[in-house]
Symmetry: C2
Subunit: 312 residues, 2 copies
């Protein structure tokens, strides 16, 4: 990704820690944003192993950037305390209260900006991607799980417990990992779409992309599983629209790679559910799988700008 | 209500236009907030008659305040364009695009602050009532209809289409005035509680208060209708909590006069539905039926303060 960022005086690196993979980026002074490494997240080996892997990946990333690196941006999933720089909890990784900002700063000797993967993705889409200039918007990465980055009256909602759109009840009886039934995530996440299609066909399914591909070849079971996911998404978005009346909803994450196969029926289903509410624009994310990383790089740059602008 | 407001240099009057009644208040320099008139809202006579009644009530109110009045606060239901001072639409009153701020200013010769009844009620509860100092809060008047005043990160959400909690789907099959089925408002508003109890008993029911009174005397039908309303409210609040994670929810409007008969089972039902989400405090509104009017008086005072602080 060339020239994604505006030019700057600094080089920063960004690490996006996911449940399966950690992805690295380097943001150069000329605005180039370069992919720089992918490491498995060893969550089967327990939370301590993941913390060690994060520290090693941060080291690798700084080394691979070559010349001087000025700051690190780090984003992680789950509940995040941005103020204290602590990863509070992640259901996937099972860590609790890990002071990651301090640990990465100690390991790399660099200033570290720390944030939440989904809010970071929202930040990047709003600064550089599909949500530019939106005042009231939802950026919704649909991946293994589903949660949203919310913008209200031009400001990002930073409450760490807000945006849990994946657990909105959409009246199904599918059990969810959270203990409830009928959560959006149990029907419409990438993992759920793959699981439900696998269960209905008895096939081994690698991911939602395989379901989309089957659907495009006329597979009726794939069409049904997909339609159920779309209907559940439309129900959840209608709830969001009734409460927050966004002008724009940006769909991201792996499932959004389905493009118009996602966007067109979803837009139609949402339209059908609205009455007095103004219809928001629906759009696809522009930063692809690097939204959270790009946001982490922005956070790292922000750290430096803030240091320059407002010396303590 | 004595000494509700802080002292000030000015006297303002406030008019809260409801679907059934218009209520007047006078806010004196010493902080006294005095009820000053009640007029029927002649909505059966059409929107023009209501506009005329609003202008007459504003005149009466200014006259009854006696000495010099410095400003008028006016709040109305439905969709409101605060910037332009226009009542955009009300389902109850059936007016469309009425420039009420200008009309009342012309009639009274005074500066007029114009706002939305529910957001005004939220403003007052946050400034003076049960939501003081809350950063993330929902103020929810439950009356003929249900809609909420939302506070996110310390700021009130002013998007005129936001907060439509009364139309959250809570999985019932009760038809709603909006055309959908299963809306919260169709089960848990004061009007719905009265209507559902009347339908089940064949009795003529004046309002939700009568149902609460029957319930307290051991009436099983009243207990069932009330329990269904509580369950629907708990479902809707759980949706709100999942999206916005408020620290506080304030219940107001006529239905909240049921006090602990509302608050205790609702708190219990919400608690049962939460898992990872932090449980918000649930509290009753403190300004009773005068929340919206008190907010209108604050808006009118704000107009004067703003004029003094920041001369154009």
């Amino acid at each position: 990704m060339t020239g994604v960022f505006p030019p700057s005086m600094s080089t920063v690196v960004a690490l996006d820690v996911g449940g399966t993979t950690m992805k690295g980026l380097i943001a150069r002074p000329d605005g180039q944003l370069v992919t720089a490494g992918r490491w498995p997240t060893p969550r089967e080996d327990g939370p301590d192993a993941v913390v060690e892997a994060v520290l090693n990946a941060a080291d690798d990333l700084v080394a691979s950037a070559g010349d001087r690196v000025d700051a690190v941006g780090l984003v992680v999933p789950g509940f995040v305390d941005e103020q204290r720089g602590v990863a509070t909890y992640s259901e996937n990784i099972r860590w609790r209260d890990v002071p990651l900002r301090r640990l990465v700063a100690e390991r790399t000797g660099l200033p570290v900006a720390f944030g939440h993967d989904v809010r970071s993705c929202g930040l990047a889409e709003r600064a550089l991607g599909a949500a530019r200039e939106a005042r009231d918007a939802l950026v919704l990465p649909i991946g293994t799980g589903i949660s949203g980055a919310m913008f209200v009256a031009g400001r990002q909602v930073r409450n760490p417990y807000a945006g849990e759109i994946g657990h909105l009840p959409v009246c199904g009886d599918e059990p969810c990992a959270c203990g409830a039934t009928g959560c959006l995530e149990a029907i419409a996440s990438g993992a759920a779409i793959a699981r439900r299609y696998g269960r209905a066909t008895g096939r081994r399914v690698r991911g939602a992309a395989q379901v989309v591909s089957a659907l495009r070849q006329g597979d009726e079971v794939a069409a049904r599983v997909w339609a159920e996911a779309i209907a559940a998404l439309a129900d959840a978005l209608t709830i969001y629209i009734g409460l927050l009346a966004p002008e724009l909803i940006v769909l991201g994450g792996g499932v959004s790679l389905a493009g118009s196969t996602l966007l067109e029926p979803l837009r139609e289903q949402v339209r059908r559910r609205l009455s007095w509410q103004p219809e928001p624009r629906l759009a696809l994310a522009e930063l692809g799988e690097h939204g959270a990383g790009a946001g982490a790089a922005l956070l790292a740059r922000g750290l430096l700008t803030r240091d320059l602008d407002r010396p303590a």
